[in-house]
């Protein structure tokens, strides 16, 4: 069974029947050297840094997957009010975290 993810406080067209609690997932990622060099070159000419876009996108998917895993083990079938957060841990490394409320919906 797939878990429904939303960032609204209610689910449109569904009713919340049980509250499970807060679930979260996080991941810390750093870019490898090749991507840094490519980004350095892009800093000269301008434009999209595709390597970073992909990296942050993948990292976000991974922390979402961790959150979903936590919700599944606690028996929820939906996570509502999801929020994303980003913070830089050290130079070149960034932490991505995601949190939400696990609930059971009809």
């Amino acid at each position: 069974m797939d878990i429904i993810l939303t960032n609204t406080s209610t689910l449109p067209g569904r009713e919340v029947i049980k509250h499970i609690g807060l679930v979260q997932g996080n991941t810390v990622r750093t870019k490898h050297l090749g991507r840094d060099i490519a980004a350095g070159f892009k800093n000269l000419v301008g434009g999209e840094l595709r390597g970073y876009t992909e990296l942050l996108g993948e990292a976000r998917e991974e922390c979402t997957a961790r959150m979903v895993e936590e919700a599944k083990t606690s028996g929820a079938n939906a996570i509502i009010n999801i929020r994303y957060g980003t913070s830089s841990v050290a130079n070149g490394a960034s932490e991505l975290f995601v949190y939400g409320t696990a609930v059971v919906v009809s």
């Binding site: 429904i4 993810l5 939303t6 960032n7 609204t8 406080s9 209610t10 689910l11 449109p12 067209g13 569904r14 840094d36 980004a39 350095g40 892009k42 800093n43 000269l44 000419v45 301008g46 434009g47 999209e48 840094l49 595709r50 970073y52 876009t53 942050l56 996108g57 976000r60 979402t64 999801i82 929020r83 994303y84 980003t86 830089s88 130079n91 070149g92 960034s94």
Partner: protein
Amino acid sequence: MDLFQKAQIVLFFWPVLLLVLGFFTGRLISKRHLKRIEQAEQELEHIRLWTTGAFPESLNVVPTGENTLVNGNVTLSLDVFRTMLNAFSNIFGRNLKSSEQLCERGRREAIIRMKRQAQNFGADQILHVRFEGYSVLGKSGRASGLEFLTYGTAVKSKNGGQNAPINV
């Protein structure tokens, strides 16, 4: 002028050459990006965006109950010429026009990517749209790029949101 002298001139002026290169490539890239954004925006006009968490009752939007989280992200960077110009502008303080445009492009691109995900899901409404901006740090500790993230809840509606107002 022999080859050695020419090489000397290039060695002496290479920072200037880089700045000139950055000036032209930066302008070209942002212009082409804006064109792509405008095309994609017209293509995805039918998906409506809401920053509210629920539909206003007066509009009678009937959700089918199929929802999913969608997000779009993009990392953009300025060229070396405009980065330098912005650094000098710090002395006097003024609007950084190039950075303003960069942020605008980044947000619009992120919206487009989010809308594409919603389109693949088959949704026609996105609720509770939120933006986030974040600077990616480079090796030397300076900001080497800006990430723009936008996310929301894609919702399928029965009446196709015909009663909903046009989003801006």
